[in-house]
Amino acid sequence: MIEVENLYKEFNGQPVLKGISTAFEKGKTSMIIGQSGSGKTVFLKCLLGLHLPDKGIISFDGRKHTELEIKDRRQLRQEIGMVFQGGALYDSLTVEENIMFSLKMFTDQSNNEMLDRVNFVLNRVNLNNANNKFPAQLSGGMQKRVAIARAIVMNPKYLFCDEPNSGLDPNTAMVIDNLIQEITKEYDIITVINSHDMNSVMEIGEKIIFLKDGVKAWEGSNKEMFKTDNEAVVDFVYSSNLFRKVREVYLNEKKQ
């Protein structure tokens, strides 16, 4: 379990996160939502250790991230898989080399063993025959799949995704969502997704945290989100006519 207690972070005297507390459980897909500038990315970067919090505790299965020695922190990071918004694939490396990178860096596997593992994860994300292509030769959806494959190649305990659907068409976005959820269940890992995509949130958000101005304004599941009367959540999530109508229909059905 990842536990976050009273997390504060500020930049140049401007508070961005103001005392966030929450927990993320194993085998569940948790989502962080909120408007641009609400602190989602900073929150995710604090979880990843890319930003050091000014106050508060983040613990990964009891290991307090902020109190770990550099060596132990590096060890913990090897248990983390991350899917970046733009994929963040290494341009100069092929798909195979991108995925093999952390295996080369942190394991003593032979080349054949690494290759088997690469092919296994590529197969898992339904991406075959792309081993020798460079990231620039792939479509956005394929790049995301490679990024997911790279993130899971080391069998991580924790998977973080920053806007995994940005720039993808609705069909591909759904495929990526399902893939992330399947992987979360299959490997029983903790998955935290930063998203703007309300379709994804409704589809796979088993736990949703809504941030507003650096504060956790609401927390619940996708089902609870339909019923909530929290004004801030309703304003944000149901800002489109379509979602508002869907909610009305859902609530009416519930009443009847």
Binding site: Q78, G86, D91, F101, M105
Partner: protein, 246 residues
Amino acid sequence: MNYFEHVGKYFLMLKQVFKKPQKWSVFREMLFREIEDLGLKSLGIVMFISFFVGGVVAIQTALSVDSPFIPKYLIGFATKRSVILEFAPTFMSVILAGKVGSYITSSIGTMRVTEQIDALEVMGINSLNYLVLPKIIAVLFFYPLLILLAMFLGVYGGYAAGILTDLFFAEDYIYGVQLDFNPYFIKYALTKTLVFAFVIATIPSYHGYYVKGGSLEVGRASTQAVVWTSIVIILLNYFLTQMLLG
């Protein structure tokens, strides 16, 4: 940020760079890649410029020496001195600062703005050590060889210019090149080269690593890196010359 803060941050960066590589096999692979990118791919331009600049130095010297009382072998002597002492180590380093420096800043800067460096950090990799150390070792190893080649081709370019223009005789030129040869000058030039090579690898890396923003900022950082690397090379050239030859 003022200049002192940049200098402080630069040295803090170096502290992170000079750590033991996390995996030697990966480091070795990176090192060979950098030798190719930063060294071998600069061979062509170094050879081309050295040959022609050597030729120009010889022609200009020959044209300036029109008094019958000044021996013609001084053309070879002057060309050799200018090429070995100044042109090959300093002028070539400024050219490499432009070519290699902008490449280093833009490649690391692009990695920064596309979150590739964050991806390394999340994996638990010391990104500065992984990205910058192989560049430093590659240039420290390869640039002295490039500069020795530039010296040879510069002097040879002068010889070729003499033959092609009939401004002086080959025998005079060769005699001038051999006259009063001081091996310390080679040592001096290579010492300067090593210092400049370090500057060429680290200042652009600093500018690329700490860039913020998008492609426009990466472009600006590349320009700044080339400007600052050239300034530092010129300043260090002055102090090193004073210390080593003064």
